[in-house]
Amino acid sequence: CRVMFVETFELVRKHFAELFVMIFGGGSADLQLEEGVDVLEAGVTVLASPPGKRINSLQLMSGGEKALTAVAVLFALFKTRPSPFCLLDEVDAPLDEANNKRFVRILQEFSDQAQFLVITHSKVTMAEAESLYGVTMEEEGVSTQIAVRLEEAEKLTEPGAQGAR
């Protein structure tokens, strides 16, 4: 069990470092096990530093940088042990357009191995999805589902759409 955990951990660590550099176009990232504690009890700390910056503490990072770092951790786990599907709820909300496009590119890379369900208000993300589902409330308080094409999806978040008035 101990060997298994360490092997998996080292693999996730390697993938995380690679994916971080790929997503941020540079910088460095690492995962560390708590020192001096039995491997099966030790906590895991995430260190990451965007390109050109000296700081590696997550606390000082910006909202968008943290979101992208979390995505790198998630996909590192995915690469190590693929899961059949993945559900992401507005992970792209803090991202600017450039980073939103990077996020979508990563998703596309992984979407031949697993199914991705991505809840989003972002037109950049909607535009890249293979299929789109609309969830709305034609009657107040009751969810219904509508099939949408991309042009309609963008309208769903426009003024006048049924929803939180």
Binding site: K66, L77, R81, P84, Q115, V135, T136, E139, G141, L156
Partner: protein, 165 residues
Amino acid sequence: MHLKKLACAGFKSFADPLEFVFDTGMTAIVGPNGCGKSNVVDAFRWVLGERSAKGLRGKEMLDVIFKGTSKRQPLSRAEVTLTFDNSDGTLPIDFTEVEVTRRLYRSGESEYLINRKKCRLKDVLALVAGTGIGTEGYSILEQGSVDVFLHSNPAERRAVFEEAA
């Protein structure tokens, strides 16, 4: 193994029965604020064995049953069924199609079913263990949880790595 469909009835804002059929690749779920998109994520977590009402944004588990609107009466039960295509045999069970169902009645009674046969929560957890999609898994990122994913205490983060081991 891949996801085929999710059927909800009486779960949160899904007063009328609703079914999502999933393709492979990337599916975007879009719609106005407050219409039920994150309730879809809650439906996934609930049917896969989520035991904490707080994890489903409620105070008590009965909060998942449709509470009614100004025009509709509250319902007396919530039901969610998740259907997998298991033709590659990833799930340790002798069926090419696997349905997992969870029900909750206003009385507080709850049921789990696998392929329409009653079972226990333990059976559902054993079925999905190690695939990354159980409630400890890493394949669901809830809305606004990027910070939790990165900042939770190292021991909590460890649980996610164990799931991948």
